[in-house]
Symmetry: C2
Subunit: 399 residues, 2 copies
Amino acid sequence: MKFSKKLEQMEHSPIRKFYKYAAEAERKGKKIFYLNIGQPDIKTPKVYFDAIKHFNEEVLAYMPSQGIPELIEAMRKYYEQHKIYYDSEDIIITQGGSEALTFTMLCITNDGDEIIVPEPFYTNYNIFIKGTGAKIVPLTTKAEDGFHFAKREDIESKITKRTRAILLTNPGNPTGTVLSKNEMRMIADIAKEHDLFIISDEVYREFVYDGSPMTSFGQLPDVKDRVILIDSISKRFSACGARIGAVITRNKELQNHLMKLCQGRLASPTLDQVGAVALYNLPSDYFDDVIKEYQKRRDVVYDYLSKIEGVVCQKPSGAFYLTAKLPVNDAEEFLIFMLTAFEDHGETVMFAPVEGFYETEGLGRDEIRIAYVLNTKDLTRAMELLKFGLEKYLTLTTV
Amino acid sequence: MKFSKKLEQMEHSPIRKFYKYAAEAERKGKKIFYLNIGQPDIKTPKVYFDAIKHFNEEVLAYMPSQGIPELIEAMRKYYEQHKIYYDSEDIIITQGGSEALTFTMLCITNDGDEIIVPEPFYTNYNIFIKGTGAKIVPLTTKAEDGFHFAKREDIESKITKRTRAILLTNPGNPTGTVLSKNEMRMIADIAKEHDLFIISDEVYREFVYDGSPMTSFGQLPDVKDRVILIDSISKRFSACGARIGAVITRNKELQNHLMKLCQGRLASPTLDQVGAVALYNLPSDYFDDVIKEYQKRRDVVYDYLSKIEGVVCQKPSGAFYLTAKLPVNDAEEFLIFMLTAFEDHGETVMFAPVEGFYETEGLGRDEIRIAYVLNTKDLTRAMELLKFGLEKYLTLTTV
């Protein structure tokens, strides 16, 4: 039997390929501090579970393909509170941010069309973009520059006749980089000039630190037809298992195409939508403590890492990730060492090698992503383990 | 901005386009018996809601991309009870049968590849197949033949170098037609001879009437590498809002490609999976009453319809649909008449015109699909309304 060339050329998610080593280490009784995936430890607000417990229909029926009106309205109000103004027909509920991105790609690209993506980028963009037939054109960024990418000449040099959109994560994953208002303005200008969509994946929107204001591409009125916001409740409310996301656009033609795909898959999960309504109706000060907690964690990780000799990183301004350059040749090899050959009092740490987050061959081999999704005590210990492990690894490899 | 040609050429789901007329009729106080979509009225078993109420993790986390092991095991046992033997690695949980079909298409087709589909077919196959870049090659069936399609020469005449699979719904939607063992054997032989996949959408597997045995393409050992079962809990347990389906295959290469897409979208909904475990663990006699009820309903609909002059239909053997040919030129026009111009004591009936279920232009214009998803009393009244409406419509149009 024959298979799709797209899928044959596609690799498995690089975040997940080290699990066999972790499983083996656990089997041997090693304790692992997991900093490799963006699964927060923050409790899912109880209102979510309560709302679902109070669901009392006898038939669990299909909901409207666009999403239940209560959730759309709750999201509309949430955006309004953040000075992001949308109408209810602009908000389409999806099965996670993943479906939002897949549907967007199916709607705006033909086979071989190009999407400009700053690298390193969230690795699953590979699946959404290449799996539906388009190409990723990477815009390389560097640890030394804090992974900023908004230089007009760099972006413009990547634009061809096949370019359909710039896809960015803001705040960034795996970098934690937050765009300034000036950078956003410039990207919007480029999009207008070259007739491109801006796909702004803002699933970490709330997580901006040091009192920086939260900004969104949804706030720029002159590109309202070009901006496609990708959203999700997974990180915002620590509800990853709910699979509720959204694609938000004022572009009527895009809405029309998106709705065809939504009607095809009938509906998003009913109970998760009911729970999500309760989450969006939480008072907005819910985020205050969460943001404080993540900022503390970021500080723990950054302060520790920046004192380790040979490590290069800038203090990230948002999300809950930090990408750092280590004084190693191959972070994947170093990770396997940490899982198989290293321990300190029976403990070790797992992180994500960043090579798989780059499109350009050979880049990021010495970089790792740390997801600060544990409490500060555990994070401190995890950083200590990283330091000890690195020292030991360097002794062994420089012999 | 530019859009995907695939999406530009795609139409909206034809089942849904008559809602505006229905909404307007309801606004005017008309009562509508809805027989147009496959949303059963059967109560979702209470165990589903109970299992979810007892979920007591504090963080609603991502589950494994393949699905939670408890659900995979519960499904494996369910298949085993039906003499369909799979290993747990063969079962991949998806976000509804829709995702199962979309992922299958992404894995096995390149742009322009062909899928043979007996018509009339479930209209959303258009979205899954054309939305991902492949083509539908229809195999036309007729009301007069009970919509049977398994004739070797007909199927073989559709096979080209680009054919990748035969996709069929068994029991059928919108036809209710069930394949005989001989027909399945012959389709399996063709698939072997021409190196094709058989994608067998068996979401109505239980709903087979008159004591006929339930059969599955998963029971044919010599095509085990070519069979892709599509499954879902939506109809089986009247849990449409749960968005839990599965793609089941023994083909290792296909499993590998499917898992890339599954890892890309991270996971299926956690709570719905927890509820689904409880559903699959129901005693198998749960289905006895449900099947009896649907058989009674089928008989009510069929007996009534077959007595209306000019209506052509065969008694369907499965699913909960019946497709009938009416003595009208345009069933869409007749439906609009039923919603806008007809009523009997303030009541009318809604059904699905079948034209949109055909790929071949112009076919099915005089056919309607009835989903017998109401109790027998309501169904009897609905059939009466159909008869009255048809009589009135024919008087008006033959003047």
